[in-house]
Amino acid sequence: MYLTEVKSWDIVKKQYRYKLKSYFGVFTSLVFIQLLAIFFSFNGTGMSGGASNSISYEVNYYSGDIILVFMMIWAFITAIIITTKAYRYDDFSFITNRSISHFSNILFLLSVSIFAGISVYLSTHLFQVLVFYLKDNFSIIKDTLSVTTWLTGISASTLYIFLFASAGYFIGVLIQLHRGFAFIIPTFLFGGLIMDGLGGNPTLFMNVSKFFGAETSFFLFAVKVLVVSIVLLLSSIGISNRMEVRK
């Protein structure tokens, strides 16, 4: 029987399509988590109020922030899950090698991030409509966005979600390399935060969130997120080269 020659890119595409079909549960969990996030958002993300002799007022802010945060956590966990043996071995029942497996995973994470980014925007609207009907407000002020701002908004959400997915993927691969990382990483993370806060002047978490969050130029923000994500993903690929393909 003659040998077949295959091109890496073709196989990446096939693995990617296989993943989109077979990891369908990821999308189901996305919908449930968004519904949960909408429910949690009903209290409003911010509130201020005041009163004088004859009037008192209260201002509630309703935004999609909680939905975005939930999506970031969801992406983080999803990325960890797809590095586990059960998912990794699925690839090797068909044609693949390790880099192809990684590339198709990254493509998959990128697509779910984009999907999640868009759906955050859409579900924010759903949420606002629900607030309009369910809360007895006297007056509603709604920000209107121009096309460029909502495009930036969707892209920024996508990038944040992708950043968390990359971090999850990196941690997932570390845990696959050695089970001990499942204990070491949380210990260092929370330990670090606590140690940092002991002095009464926490800087670590603030600096990390400032690095991304306080960036005013969208372009620079995108570059920062992408560079950090790519570093995380490339290290994941590097680390996994120390492992056997399938036991």
């Binding site: 029987m1 003659y2 040998l3 077949t4 020659e5 295959v6 890496s8 196989i11 096939k14 399509r17 296989y18 079909k21 077979s22 990891y23 369908f24 549960g25 059960a86 071995y89 699925d90 090797f92 029942s93 068909f94 044609i95 693949t96 090698n97 390790r98 192809i100 056997e244 393909v245 399938r246 036991k247």
Partner: protein, 300 residues
């Protein structure tokens, strides 16, 4: 052309050597049986050939390339075992279609006909199948993929005897219609004997024998008779197996390279010479002690 070439192949887990400097070659378009006891290193060897595991030292070549993490080898090899994992999100029918999209030689028509014959439910999920059904499904993928190197690691585990026979027949028919290199591992040589051309017998990680099935059948002879006569005859001959079969009778197995005179002597001593089945030869050759399991119970 040799499809698989191993030279001094060694695999270590920590300090224990699972594969111990093994050298052999598997020729193209032959069915080779990999036979060995539990823990002999069959699965490890097959996983190295399939490119799943790193070898520790020595050299292994599949299609003249190092198989580990190699795309060309992966595209031309299929490894079927009962640990094969398939996505829980796809039904069996969808899995067949996915497999079809990956393997260029895939015969979808054959896959569907086998699928029907073994009455698998297309809407079922792989994880919900019984062990035997899973093995059947995996084997269907292995047959329909028509990979130039097809590796099957105990493909029939869990199948009932009817399904086993059907599967071996299907394998043979497929092989005749589309010859390919097949490595079939099993600890039941009896079952696969009629299928195999070559046998690679391994014992605790080392190559024991690699020869054609016909030479294996003629490899040894059995001698049965009074214990002292048997002892007398095998005095200067190396035995493969010696067993006390009660009533002052013994059974010895020796390599089939005795001279005519020696065989004549045996008859003079009143010994009965028999042929030994391939299955028995393998189990005698791979047993740890010459006396077999009886040895454990003889404390005296």
């Amino acid at each position: 052309m040799n499809v698989v070439v191993c030279n001094n192949l060694t695999k270590q887990y920590g300090r224990s050597k699972v594969i111990h400097s093994m050298s052999f070659q598997l020729a193209e378009n032959k069915i080779t049986g990999l036979i060995g006891r539990n823990g002999a290193g069959k699965t490890t060897l097959l996983k190295i050939i399939a490119g799943y595991l790193h070898h520790s030292s020595g050299d292994v070549q599949v299609f003249s390339e190092n198989p580990f993490n190699n795309l060309k080898v992966s595209a031309n090899t299929i490894f079927i075992d009962n640990e094969m994992s398939f996505s829980q999100g796809l039904t069996l029918k969808e899995l067949l279609e996915t497999a079809g999209s990956f393997y260029q030689n895939w015969d979808h028509d054959l896959a569907l006909r086998l699928f029907d014959y073994f009455s698998l439910d297309p809407k079922q999920f792989h994880g919900n199948l019984s062990k035997g059904m899973q093995s059947t499904f995996n084997s269907i993928i292995g047959l329909a993929a028509r990979c130039p190197l097809t590796i099957m690691d105990e493909p029939t585990s869990g199948m009932d005897s009817g399904t086993r026979k059907d599967f071996y027949r299907a394998l043979l028919k497929e092989y005749i219609a589309h010859p390919r290199t097949i490595i079939l591992s099993s600890h039941l040589l009896d079952e696969v004997e009629d299928l195999l051309e070559d046998v690679l017998l391994i014992k605790s990680g080392e190559k024991c024998l690699h020869l054609s099935i016909d030479s294996l059948r003629d490899y040894a002879i059995g001698v049965r008779g009074k214990t002292e006569k048997v002892q007398e005859w095998i005095d200067r001959i190396e035995t493969i197996h010696l067993q006390d079969i009660g009533a002052n009778l013994s059974y010895a197995v020796v390599k089939n390279d005795r001279s005519i005179k020696e065989l004549e002597d045996a008859r003079q001593l009143g010994l009965e010479i028999t042929s030994v089945s391939a299955e028995d030869i393998c189990s005698y050759l791979t047993s740890k002690t010459k006396g077999g399991i009886d040895h454990v119970f003889n404390r005296g």
